[in-house]
Symmetry: C2
Subunit: 239 residues, 2 copies
């Protein structure tokens, strides 16, 4: 069982995902929001590329629609990309489906469908992802959504945290400089993840959006340790 990291969806053509587990990571905020949706009793999540597709799924299937561009809620949808919008009482979500289009996370997921199994990872559901990987016993590619194709710290750190969980169970990260880097960074960050990420570019973006609550929520480990967003071939369901 090996683990590698792809730092950007733009680099996915370099990786062969066949037979592997793909762990899609967009800590701020798509995969955190998706895990929250499933925890809140939503029955399915449709990740889509465009806002128009998102709105169409709202009409066709009655999905709650979620979308952001550059971090801000897109026009014509119900909610943005904050997990808190699924925790508030404003929208009844239990039993409904979610259609979500995000800047980076959806792209990472859509380009990883060649994988044998595909799940969404965030800090809030780290244990669920680690347990799934352990049960699968396949090589793992952590696909960091990044920011507009570029490297970002928070998704990389999730890869390091996942590696730490799996290393005592025989995981091999020695063939991947990316995985070694993620693991080292996580060692620096693990004692105080929110504090560590204060230096990151993502925090500045979220601050500009006045989304500090999101920041704290998304950097908590194992708020939902048994929520696994699992791709069933057409949508994400609770695995």
């Amino acid at each position: 069982m090996k683990l590698d990291l792809c730092f950007s969806p733009d680099l996915l053509p370099l990786y062969d995902l066949r037979g592997q587990v793909a762990v899609i990571v967009d800590v701020f905020r798509a995969t955190s929001t998706i895990a929250t949706a499933l925890h809140q009793g939503m029955t399915a999540v449709y990740p889509v590329t465009t806002v128009a597709e998102c709105i169409a799924l709202g009409h066709e299937r009655g999905c709650l629609t979620a979308s952001e561009r550059d971090g801000v809620r897109a026009a014509g949808v119900d909610i943005g990309n904050s997990p808190f919008e699924l925790l508030h009482e404003d929208y009844p979500v239990r039993g409904r489906e979610l259609a979500i289009s995000t800047t980076n996370g959806t792209k990472a997921l859509r380009h990883s469908l060649a994988a044998e199994a595909l799940v969404c990872g965030a800090f809030i559901n780290l244990t669920a992802v680690a347990d799934f990987c352990l049960a699968q016993q396949r090589d793992i590619l952590v696909v960091a959504a990044g920011w507009k194709g570029k490297f970002c710290l928070e998704d990389t750190l999730l890869g390091g945290a996942l590696a730490e969980r799996l290393l005592p169970h025989g995981l091999d990260i020695s063939e991947s400089d990316a995985a070694l880097t993620a693991y080292q960074l996580w060692q620096n960050a693990r004692a105080d993840l929110p504090g560590y990420l204060h230096q990151s570019a993502a925090l500045r973006r979220l601050r500009e959006l006045e989304a500090n609550d999101d920041y704290l929520f998304c950097t908590q480990v194992d708020t939902y340790p048994d929520v696994l967003p699992l791709w069933d071939g057409s949508k994400l369901v609770r695995g």
Copy 2:
């Protein structure tokens, strides 16, 4: 003066190099070899994409020809990609020109020509690169050659070492998660760079090539502190 890092030539389309200094880095081994060539009195270095172009420059200009594919010397050229081949007595190099085609380094360079100034960086000429950047007072993009498009530790560490040199002179790395990562990794590595890189994928590749001397040579800081490979519009010359 800001510094950012591009972890792969495949991501260069995401960066706008206009007005910036591009520092091309392929520690193992292209940029180390290029710095060595200029230190040894070679008058110019032509980085080319294909082995055929390399051989053609040998015929047309009398260049010494250097090329490797997957780390091994290509057929039909004079030497591979080891700096030691330029240090030995086997080939008279002073006063000659070098044509070099490498797997990763040439690609990084050829895709960075939009920069205002372009230089080659390695550990062996770190001070020369830092001094040039200080004199330029422009934003800097460190372009890591990586390995077949993927992230590699050693080129990233060079970016961190360069950042360390420039931070006391007003460099800003706060807007780049990639630069923050490189700087942190360098803090872990700086006390014993060869030892630190023992974990890296590159070392395994060089070991397979029985190139351990190259490994030690390329991880020495400032062997040639005044050698700056500078792009003059058509070739690299000593700046």
